[in-house]
C-alpha cells in the first residue's frame, strides 16, 4: 500500500505533540511517585522520518551503549514504544526505584526486572493517556529489555524494511539530584499513521471548539 501521501500538517503535529505531552506528563507523575524525586520533562519533539533516521537520531545523541525497555502496542494504530537510557545511568535509575540500601550486586541482579517494571509503568501511562484522549483503546505487549545502540533498539539490523517512514517522537526527561536522563520514543508504521491522522483531526475539532474541553467532558 502506498502511504507516501501520509504526512502530518503543522496542526496535526501540534495536536500529537500535545497528546504525547499529556501522556508523558502522566508517565512522569508515575515515575515521580516511584523515585520520590522531581522529574523534569522537555518539550516533546515529533517527526516523520525513516526508521534508519530514527535509529541514527538516537545514535547521534547517545554515543554510548543504550538500554531500552520496549513495548509493542496494537489497536487502532500500532507501533513500538521505547523508554531509553544511556546504559551507564540505568543502574542509577534502578537504585532510585528500589532504594539506596541495596548493595551493587543486588542492584545488578534486580536490574532488568526493575527496568522492565519501570518501563511498563511509564510507557503504559503515556500510551494509555494518548489512547484515552483519542477515545481509543490499545493493547500493550510485555516489556522487553534491550541492550545495544540505536540500530538494535529500532530493529534496523534485522533486514526488515527500514527505509519506510515512521513517526518518531521523543522526549528528554531527567530526574533531579540523580544522574538520570533518558528518552521516550515511539515509532509507528505508516498504515497506523493514516488512522492516527484521522483520529487527530477529530481530536482537534473537539478541542478547539471548546476551551474548557478537557474538564467539560
Amino acid at each position: 500500500m502506498t502511504s507516501i501521501g501520509v504526512t502530518l500538517d503543522d496542526l496535526e503535529r501540534d495536536a500529537l505533540t500535545e497528546l504525547v505531552n499529556i501522556g508523558v506528563s502522566r508517565a512522569a507523575a508515575s515515575l515521580r511517585k516511584m523515585v520520590g524525586k522531581q522529574v523534569l520533562l522537555s518539550v516533546p519533539s515529533v517527526e516523520v522520518v525513516t526508521q534508519n533516521a530514527a535509529a541514527a537520531l538516537i545514535g547521534q545523541r547517545e554515543s554510548d551503549d543504550l538500554v531500552a525497555i520496549r513495548q509493542e502496542f496494537g489497536g487502532a494504530f500500532s507501533g513500538k514504544a521505547l523508554l531509553i537510557f544511556p546504559e551507564d545511568n540505568s543502574l542509577e535509575l534502578v537504585r532510585a526505584i528500589v532504594g539506596d540500601e541495596l548493595d551493587s550486586t543486588e542492584v545488578a541482579s534486580l536490574k532488568d526486572e526493575a527496568l522492565a517494571e519501570t518501563g511498563n509503568v511509564i510507557l503504559n501511562g503515556c500510551l494509555g493517556t494518548i489512547a484515552n484522549m483519542l477515545n481509543q483503546s490499545l493493547q500493550m505487549s510485555l516489556p522487553r529489555v534491550l541492550y545495544g545502540d540505536g540500530k538494535v533498539l529500532f530493529d534496523v539490523d534485522t533486514g526488515a524494511e527500514t527505509d519506510g517512514l515512521v513517526l518518531f517522537l521523543y522526549i528528554n526527561f531527567s530526574v533531579r539530584d540523580r544522574n538520570i536522563r533518558g528518552y521516550i520514543a515511539m515509532i509507528m508504521d505508516l498504515p497506523s499513521l493514516g488512522v492516527l491522522k484521522e483520529l487527530l483531526g477529530d481530536f482537534i475539532s473537539r478541542v478547539t471548539a471548546d476551551s474548557n474541553w478537557a474538564v467539560g467532558g
Partner: protein, 790 residues
C-alpha cells in the same frame, strides 16, 4: 426647566468627563508605552474548576483588554482574545493539553494590536495538581518577545546565511545550548540542547574538543581553534573553526563560554592542495636532483666542476673507473696538470673563463693514474663562477681511426699490388723482349768481335743499352709504384707524369685497346701526390680495359677548368676556383644508373669474386678529395664511361725545369774509399768505377773484412756499404766505424725500395743512400757530393 447652575453643572461635568476620558486615554497610552519600554510580563491564573480567568494589567495591556474586568475575572475564553487567527487553534490545543494533565506549557504566538500591528509573545505556564494528580489551576506569564524575536530571526538568518552555528556552555553543565545551524554543521539532527559528550565525540581524536571540559577560572582571550569532525549523518570529515569568548555567568559563580562554529573545509582543502602541490614541487625538485645525481654517479663520461682558477672542485666516479684516480685526490688539482704534456694548451683553453666567448669543445688526452693515455672529447659550459666539463672517452674511436687509416693504407697498397699483378704478365713479356734485345745484341757483338768485324758494333751496343735502359726504367717504375708512401701533396706536372706511365698503361691495356692522350702544353700544375695519381690513373685504365673486353679506345685528356660561382658539379659541392681536369674516357659497356650510383662505394664491384676488391674507385675518390679536388663519373650503357678527376691548380711560381745538361762525370782527387759489398759482381763494378774516377779504392766482402780496415789508423774518406750484409748489416757496421771515426761519411747501397722509402729513419748525419740499380754517373755524382759537402 433647567437652571443656569444645572446648565453649568451639566456643562462642567461634561467637560470634566471629557477631560477624564482624555486623561484615561493618555494614561493608557503612557501605560502601553511604559509596558513596551519595560518588555514587561503579564501574569494569568486559569481556575479550571470555576472556569474563570484572572490576569494582571500587563496581560490586559498586551491582549488589549480592560484591566479592571480581567482583575475581577472573566470567562476563560477571554484567554484567547487578540491571538492571531493563524495561531489560535494551536494555542487552544496546547491549553487543552494542559487541562488534560500535560505539565509543560511553553508557546510563542502572535497578538494583534488595535492599531493593526503584531506583537510576538511567549507564554510559559504550568499546572497545579491536587492530591489525585488532577490539574486544578493553570497559570503562567506572558512576555513580549517582539524585539527578541526580531533579533532571534536576524540571528537565525545570519546563522543560516553565514553558516555559523552558535552555542553556549556553562561550566559544570553536561549539556550545551546550541542553535539549529550548530547541529547542521555537525550533521546532527537540529535541537536546542546537546550533551557535551555527543558534541566532543564527533571531533577527531587528535584535535582539540569543541567544548572545553574545564573552563578557566578567569575570562581570558581565546584564540581560534581549528579541528576536524566526522559528520554524524554522512560520516564525512570536515574542518571546522571555533571562536568565542568567556563571560561571567550571572547565575553560577563560574564562567560561560559563548561561541560560534563555522566550516573551513574549503579553505583547508585549498590550503592542503597548495601544501601538496608545494610538496609535489619540492618532490619534483628532489626527484630531478636524484635523477641528476644518478647521471652524475652513473655516467661513464667524465664529469667535473672546475673553478675559474682552473682547479677541480668536484669529479664524478667515472674518473676513478676510467682513469683510476681516487676522487678525493683530484679535488684541488689543476685540470691542466692532468692533460697529456703536449696538450696542456688545449686543456688550458678548455678551462679558460671567458664571458665573451663560450668555451669551445676540445679533444684533450689525459694521463691516467697508471700512466695510460686516454683521449677525451670535451665540452665545457660556464655557469657563474664554475665551469662544467663533460669528457667523452674517444680513446677506442681514436684507436679505431688509426687502425682504419692503417687499413686504408694497406688497402691502397693492395690496390697497387693488384694493379701490379695485372701488369705482371705484360711486364714479363716486355722483359723478355728487352732481354732478347740485350742478349741478341751482345751475341751479335760477341760473334762480330770474334770475326774481327768492328764496323757496326756501335749500333748493336746502342741497341743493347737502349733495351737495358728501358728494362731499368720499367723496373724502376714498378718499384716506385709498389712502394708504400704516405700522401705527399706537392705541385706536380701532370703531363710528364702521364708520359712516364704511358708504357705501363699501354701494357696494362693490351694490344686490343689503343691509348690516346690529349696533353696540351699550357696545362697548369696541380697540387697532388704524384704516386697516388699514377696509381689512380692505372686503376682507371684497368677498369676501362675490363669494360672493353672486345677492344676499344682509351683516351686520357688533360685540360684547365675553372669553376665559377653558380656552377654545380654532378658529384658534390666543389669550391670555386681553378682545377686541372684529367678525364679517362673509354668506349666500353658503360654503367646503368644503379651501378653508377654505387660506383664510389667501397667494396662495390661488378667484377666476379676474386677479380677485384671493389675499392678502386672509392680509393681514387678518397685520394682526390684528400687532394682538395673531386671526381665526376658519367656513363651511358653501351657508349662508354668518362671518369673526370679534378685536381686543384697550383698557383705557385712554376719551377724552371732546366733541361738536363750533359755534365761531365765529377772526378775524385785521390780520396780513399772503402767498398763493402757481398755481391762480387757489384763490388767489382763499384771498385772499377772508383778507380776510373781517380779514387783510391779498398774492398771487403763483409763486416769481418771491413772492420780491421775501419779500426786501423789508415786514411779513409768514405765508406760505401751494402745495407744487406751477412753478419753485421751495413748500418751496424757504419755505427761501429763511427766509434773510431766519428766524422766518417757513409754511402749505403740498397736494393730495397722499402729501405729507400724510409731513408730518413735509417740515415744519420753524414750518411746517404743510393738505390740499385744505379747508373755509374749517378754513383760518381753522389760520391763527389758527399766528399765535397761539409
Amino acid at each position: 426647566m433647567l437652571t443656569n447652575e444645572d446648565m453649568d453643572e451639566s456643562g462642567s461635568s461634561q467637560v470634566e468627563l471629557a477631560e477624564l476620558q482624555r486623561q484615561i486615554k493618555d494614561a493608557r497610552h503612557r501605560l502601553e508605552l511604559t509596558l513596551e519600554a519595560a518588555g514587561a510580563a503579564g501574569g494569568w491564573v486559569w481556575d479550571i474548576a470555576a472556569r474563570r480567568l484572572t490576569a494582571d494589567p500587563r496581560f490586559a495591556a498586551l491582549t488589549g483588554q480592560d484591566p479592571l474586568e480581567l482583575a475581577q475575572g472573566v470567562p476563560t475564553s477571554k484567554f484567547f482574545t487578540s491571538i492571531h487567527p493563524e495561531d489560535v487553534r494551536r494555542i487552544r490545543l496546547a491549553v487543552a493539553g494542559m487541562l488534560a494533565g500535560a505539565e509543560v506549557f511553553s508557546k510563542d504566538f502572535r497578538l494583534q494590536r488595535e492599531d493593526g500591528g503584531i506583537r510576538w509573545v511567549h507564554a510559559h505556564g504550568g499546572t497545579v495538581l491536587n492530591e489525585q494528580d488532577q490539574p486544578i489551576r493553570f497559570h503562567g506569564t506572558l512576555i513580549d518577545v517582539t524585539d527578541r524575536k526580531r533579533t532571534e530571526d536576524q540571528l537565525r538568518v545570519a546563522q543560516t546565511a553565514g553558516e555559523i552555528g552558535t552555542f553556549e556552555h556553562t561550566e559544570g553543565y553536561g549539556t550545551v545550548a546550541v542553535s539549529r545551524q550548530f547541529c547542521r554543521l555537525l550533521g546532527l539532527h537540529p535541537t536546542n540542547v546537546l550533551p557535551v559528550r555527543t558534541i566532543n565525540l564527533l571531533v577527531h581524536p587528535e584535535d582539540r574538543p569543541i567544548i572545553d571540559p574545564k573552563l578557566p577560572s578567569k575570562p581570558r582571550s581565546e584564540r581560534n581553534i581549528e579541528f576536524r569532525i566526522t559528520r554524524a549523518d554522512t560520516g564525512e570529515t570536515r574542518w571546522l573553526a571555533r571562536r568565542g569568548e568567556y563571560q561571567e555567568d550571572m547565575e553560577t559563580s563560574g564562567l560561560r563560554y559563548i561561541g560560534v562554529l563555522y566550516d573551513i573545509t574549503d579553505s583547508k582543502r585549498i590550503e592542503e592542495r597548495l601544501r601538496l602541490s608545494n610538496e609535489a614541487l619540492s618532490e619534483n625538485v628532489r626527484e630531478r636532483t636524484r635523477e641528476r645525481n644518478q647521471v652524475w654517479q652513473n655516467s661513464r663520461d667524465l664529469l667535473t666542476v672546475v673553478g675559474v682558477d682552473g682547479v677541480i672542485r668536484d669529479v664524478n666516479p667515472a674518473w676513478h673507473t676510467v682513469l683510476g684516480y681516487e676522487e678525493a685526490s683530484l679535488i684541488g688539482r689543476a685540470f691542466v696538470d692532468l692533460a697529456n704534456g703536449q696538450e696542456r694548451d688545449q686543456a688550458q683553453r678548455l678551462v679558460a673563463f671567458n664571458r665573451s666567448s663560450p668555451p669551445a669543445s676540445e679533444e684533450v688526452a689525459l694521463v691516467g693514474a697508471g700512466g695510460s693515455l686516454h683521449v677525451f672529447s670535451w665540452d665545457a659550459a660556464a655557469e657563474g663562477e664554475l665551469i662544467y666539463l663533460y669528457g667523452h672517452d674517444i680513446t677506442a674511436e681514436r684507436k679505431q681511426a688509426e687502425i682504419l687509416q692503417e687499413t686504408e693504407a694497406l688497402l691502397r697498397q693492395s690496390q697497387k699490388m693488384e694493379a701490379v699483378g695485372q701488369l705482371t704478365g705484360g711486364i714479363a713479356h716486355d722483359f723478355n723482349n728487352m732481354l732478347t734485345g740485350i742478349i741478341g745484341s751482345l751475341d751479335i757483338m760477341k760473334r762480330r768481335i770474334a770475326n774481327k768485324r768492328y764496323d757496326e758494333l756501335d749500333k748493336f751496343m746502342s741497341a743493347a743499352i737502349t733495351s737495358a735502359q728501358r728494362a731499368a726504367s720499367l723496373t724502376h717504375r714498378l718499384l716506385a709504384f709498389s712502394r708504400r708512401q704516405s700522401l705527399d701533396r706537392k705541385p706536380t706536372d701532370v703531363v710528364p707524369l702521364i708520359n712516364s706511365i704511358r708504357d705501363l698503361l699501354t701494357r696494362t691495356l693490351g694490344e686490343r685497346i689503343t691509348l690516346q692522350t690529349v696533353l696540351p702544353e699550357s696545362c697548369w700544375r696541380a697540387v697532388t701526390d704524384a704516386n697516388q695519381l699514377e696509381s689512380a690513373l692505372l686503376n682507371l685504365a684497368i677498369n676501362a680495359r675490363d669494360a672493353m673486353p672486345d677492344g676499344g679506345q682509351l683516351r686520357i685528356e688533360v685540360a684547365n677548368v675553372t669553376f665559377a660561382e653558380g656552377i654545380t658539379s654532378s658529384v658534390d659541392e666543389v669550391p670555386v676556383g681553378d682545377y686541372l681536369r684529367i678525364a679517362v674516357i673509354d668506349t666500353g659497356e658503360g654503367m646503368p644508373t644503379e651501378v653508377l650510383d654505387k660506383a664510389f662505394d667501397p667494396f662495390f664491384t661488378t667484377k666476379p669474386i676474386g677479380q677485384g676488391t671493389g675499392l678502386g674507385l672509392s680509393m681514387i675518390y678518397g685520394f682526390v678529395r684528400q687532394s682538395g679536388g673531386h671526381v665526376e663519373i658519367a656513363s651511358t650503357v653501351g657508349k662508354g664511361t668518362t671518369v673526370s678527376v679534378y685536381l686543384p691548380r697550383d698557383h705557385g711560381a712554376p719551377s724552371i725545369t732546366s733541361s738536363p745538361t750533359i755534365e761531365r762525370t765529377p772526378l775524385g782527387e785521390g780520396e780513399t774509399v772503402l767498398v763493402v759489398e757481398d755481391d762480387p759482381a757489384v763490388r767489382l763494378l763499384v771498385v772499377d768505377v772508383l778507380q776510373e774516377l781517380g779514387y783510391l779504392a779498398l774492398e771487403a766482402a763483409d763486416s769481418d773484412g771491413a772492420l780491421p780496415i775501419l779500426q786501423s789508423s789508415a786514411r779513409l774518406d768514405l765508406l760505401i756499404s751494402d745495407v744487406g750484409l751477412p753478419g753485421l748489416n751495413g748500418r751496424q757496421l757504419a755505427d761501429l766505424a763511427r766509434q773510431s771515426r766519428p766524422e766518417l761519411r757513409v754511402l749505403f747501397i740498397t736494393g730495397y725500395a722499402a729501405m729507400a722509402a724510409s731513408r730518413s729513419d735509417f740515415l744519420g748525419a753524414g750518411m746517404d743512400m743510393i738505390t740499385k740499380p744505379f747508373a755509374m754517373d749517378d754513383l760518381a755524382t753522389k760520391i763527389r757530393q758527399m766528399l765535397v759537402d761539409p
